[in-house]
């Protein structure tokens, strides 16, 4: 018997499954493709594609740059920067100036992620950090909505439509109209508003308009075992509760703005959501409720961003909610 064997010694287990971090990131990108394609098609290639590409390029570039500055191994291959860039790009308005996604990507990666120590260490969702920085710094650029005329709601807006070439006008979003004139006014402009919101035929951010396609992407991730349904469900419960308390249509609150994108793709971000189940219920509920309160009472028409960022900060606390310990509690009664 050959005693020259060089045997590898490691502690158990000696098997691993095939799931890896880059594979998960690729699935998320795949899940975002339907809504991305719709956004590009609906708002027009020229007004959207460059924004998305610049955003993804910016997050990748800034991540590589940060790795160099902080002397860390190059981490762009894990794919998380692509997800952040895509999420940020999809949450910008069509026809955003070219520097908007670049600055946003830098803020997302540098402030939102690398400053905390890179992947897995950040407290706040990087894409939302980038978006929040842009929204606070350049509110006008972040809330000027260009859209093809059939879905133009500008007849109500006093400022009127500013036209840009053939068929493109600026217009308020449904949430903006409701904020200024109330839900009835919106209903007058578009009697099928809920249906259009569901399909995605409304002004809004590039990747946030189609509830249907966002849900398709979410269901794909759920089927792949990548996301749980718990955070989105409790998010919608929280948002609906506030809508009902405020005398608004719960369905409209869910379908409009970035609520579906936020609940399904932003609040479910692994790194910045709780790992405790009980914590996740509260996290979803809180993020949805805060978004509702901001929509109802805040200065901004949309509250999804700050709702999730606020709850991000509470994650370390929420993770202290452990499940019932195995063999303690409930089951003791059963034992004689």
């Amino acid at each position: 018997m050959d005693e020259e064997l060089k045997l590898v010694i490691t502690s158990s287990p000696h098997l691993r499954d095939e799931t890896t971090v880059p594979w998960i990131m690729r699935q998320v990108v795949l899940a975002l493709l339907p809504t991305t394609i719709w956004g590009v098609y609906f708002f027009g290639v020229s007004t959207t594609l460059l924004t998305i590409l610049l955003s993804v390029g910016s997050t990748i570039g800034f991540e590589a740059l940060s790795c160099k500055i902080f002397k860390r191994p190059l981490s762009v291959t894990d794919g998380s920067a692509v997800v952040t860039g895509l999420l940020l790009g999809l949450s910008l308005p069509p026809y955003a100036p070219f520097w908007l996604p670049i600055v946003g990507g830098g803020a997302a990666i540098f402030l939102g992620k690398e400053m905390f120590g890179g992947l897995g260490q950040n407290v706040f969702n990087p894409a939302l950090v980038g978006r929040a920085v842009l929204l606070v710094s350049w509110p006008k650029a972040m809330s000027t909505w260009w859209v093809n005329t059939p879905f133009d709601f500008s007849t109500l807006a006093e400022s009127g439509a500013a036209s840009l070439g053939v068929g493109m006008v600026t217009t308020p979003t449904p949430l903006g109209i409701v904020r200024m004139y109330g839900y009835n006014a919106l209903h007058q402009v578009d009697p099928h508003i809920l249906w259009h919101l569901f399909l995605g035929q409304v002004p809004g951010c590039i990747g946030e308009v189609s509830t249907l396609l966002l849900l398709v992407g979410f269901l794909y991730l759920w089927w792949r075992g990548i996301v749980h349904w718990d955070i989105p469900l409790f998010y919608f419960i929280g948002l609906s509760l506030i809508a009902i308390l405020g005398g608004q249509s719960a369905l409209f609150y869910i379908l409009s703005g970035g609520a579906v994108m936020g609940a399904c793709f932003m609040a479910t971000d692994y790194v910045t959501s709780p790992i405790s189940s009980k914590g996740r219920y509260l996290f979803g509920l809180g993020a949805g409720a805060i978004a509702g309160v901001i929509r109802l009472l805040g200065a901004y028409p949309e509250g999804v961003i700050f709702g999730i960022l606020t709850m991000n900060a509470l994650v370390p606390f929420l993770d202290r909610l452990l499940p019932r310990r195995f063999g303690v509690g409930k089951s003791e009664a059963k034992v004689r």
Partner: protein
């Protein structure tokens, strides 16, 4: 068929097709055996024989006066060559009795056991201990201890564990398929010894043939016995998970199934006990699976304890490619070996030879929750792993790290390939060390 199961766990490839259909082969008596003086969970043994003594097959050769221990018997007739430090599959090196085969084939057998149901349970427990019986699933906990309910605790259910949830291993399956009546003879002894009113036989549903065989045979038993098909999921064979799956009872932290009125034993333990009842032979042989992706012939083999691994490799025809790793037990909880000189001990369920090792890049934890969903004990492995890394042992303890049974499910699923089980093991060891030190100082 309604399958019972437990929350958490993982679905691994089973790799059982390598050996599942292969009948048990008998390994002829080797020229010498190496018998470590610690083969069970408990106190090490003292030899009862000296260098130069003649011993018979089945003769008791080592024992100790301690409740949590089990004596050792010689698997062959021969001469004691001495007590030496020798390779041990779990402990590195440990003193072992070495016996050289003299070819005489002399035997010492006990009287077969009849009228099991009329025997006194206390007598049966002592009889089990004298047979050197320990759990053959891998943990090697002395069987007589498991069937001794502490005063004031009533055992109502006996569970025979035929899950064999570790990938690659098929020895329990083969014993169930080939020797079911001996297993049931052992079951009668065990049920009588612990005073249970009813029995369950839990078998994963990928072992259809075993389920069918037992379903027919259990009708003849003198107590109600139910064959329970279980979902094929790792770690179904873990005691706490098995008790939960079948009885919906949770064993408390740090407790035993006894605490919830149950006793669990492995099917092969039951076979060994049944064999002693029928043939009078104590635990001197067991069935193991020798398998892997680089072995010429993977086999299920009945081997004498103390057989050295290199002899088993020869028995299997050597390997097709040089193995990178040799694991005693299954690949999920088994221990990587440093040498082919290790002997088979009571807790050896098999050896797995691996050439193609996993290659997976390590990343930072992305908090994906896969380890939490996989943990059958409802722990947060990622959190415990971080506490271990930061040496925050008090926090680890507060977060129940001692509930971990090191099944390996968390490391298996981690997409960032973080060795969570290893980190948790370190934290547990350090906490235990400190608590022993604390006791010693107090």
């Amino acid at each position: 068929m309604k399958l019972k199961t437990f929350p958490g766990g993982v679905h691994t490839p089973t790799f059982k097709e390598l050996t599942a259909a292969k009948p048990i082969k008998e390994f002829s008596l080797p020229s010498r055996v190496v018998l470590p003086l610690l083969q069970h969970a408990g106190a090490p043994l003292s030899p009862l024989v000296q260098k130069g003594d003649k011993v018979k097959r089945g003769q008791k050769i080592a024992d100790i006066e301690a409740f949590i221990s089990a004596p050792l018997h010689s698997p062959l007739a021969g001469t004691v060559a001495g007590v030496e430090d020798y390779f041990h599959p779990l402990l590195g090196r440990f003193p072992a009795l070495i016996i050289e085969n003299d070819g005489s084939g002399e035997e010492e057998r006990k009287d077969p056991l009849s009228n099991i149901e009329s025997k006194d349970p206390a007598f049966l427990r002592e009889w089990i201990r004298e047979g050197g019986m320990v759990g053959l699933g891998g943990a090697a906990f002395p069987t007589h201890v498991k069937v001794s309910p502490p005063s004031g605790k009533k055992i109502d259910s006996f569970i025979l564990n035929g899950s064999e949830c570790e990938p690659y291993l098929t020895c329990d399956y083969r014993v169930m398929v080939e020797r079911p009546s001996t297993i049931l003879a052992g079951l009668r002894v065990l049920v009588r010894a612990c005073g249970a009113e009813r029995a369950f036989i839990g078998i994963e549903e990928n072992k259809i043939e075993a389920i069918e065989k037992f379903s027919k045979l259990v009708k003849d038993l003198p107590f109600p016995t139910q064959v329970v098909p279980l979902l094929t999921k790792y770690p179904q064979g873990s005691e706490k998970q098995l008790v939960f799956s079948i009885l919906r009872r949770e064993v408390p932290p740090g407790g035993l199934p006894l605490d919830v009125g149950a006793v669990v034993n492995n099917v092969q333990t039951s076979w060994a006990i049944g064999r002693m009842a029928e043939e009078g032979l104590p635990l001197i042989e067991r069935v193991i699976t020798v398998t892997g992706d680089c072995l010429k012939n993977s086999e299920n083999i009945q081997v004498p304890l103390g057989t050295v691994l290199s002899d088993l490799v020869d028995f299997c025809g050597g390997w097709t490619e040089t193995p990178q790793k040799v694991v005693m037990g299954g690949p999920m909880m088994g221990v990587a070996q440093t040498s082919l000189q290790v002997p088979v001990i009571k807790g050896t369920s098999g050896f797995v030879f691996l050439n193609h090792l996993y290659e997976k890049k390590e990343y930072s934890c992305i908090r994906c929750r896969r380890c939490i969903d996989a943990c059958p004990m409802r722990l947060f492995p990622t959190m415990l792993g971080k506490f271990a890394e930061y040496q925050a042992f008090d926090e680890a303890k507060e977060n129940r790290v001692l509930d971990c049974m090191e099944c390996g499910a968390c490391s298996y699923v981690c997409p960032a390939n973080i060795s969570l089980t290893h980190l948790i093991r370190l934290a547990k060891a350090e906490i235990m060390r400190r608590s022993r030190k604390g006791k010693a100082n107090g």
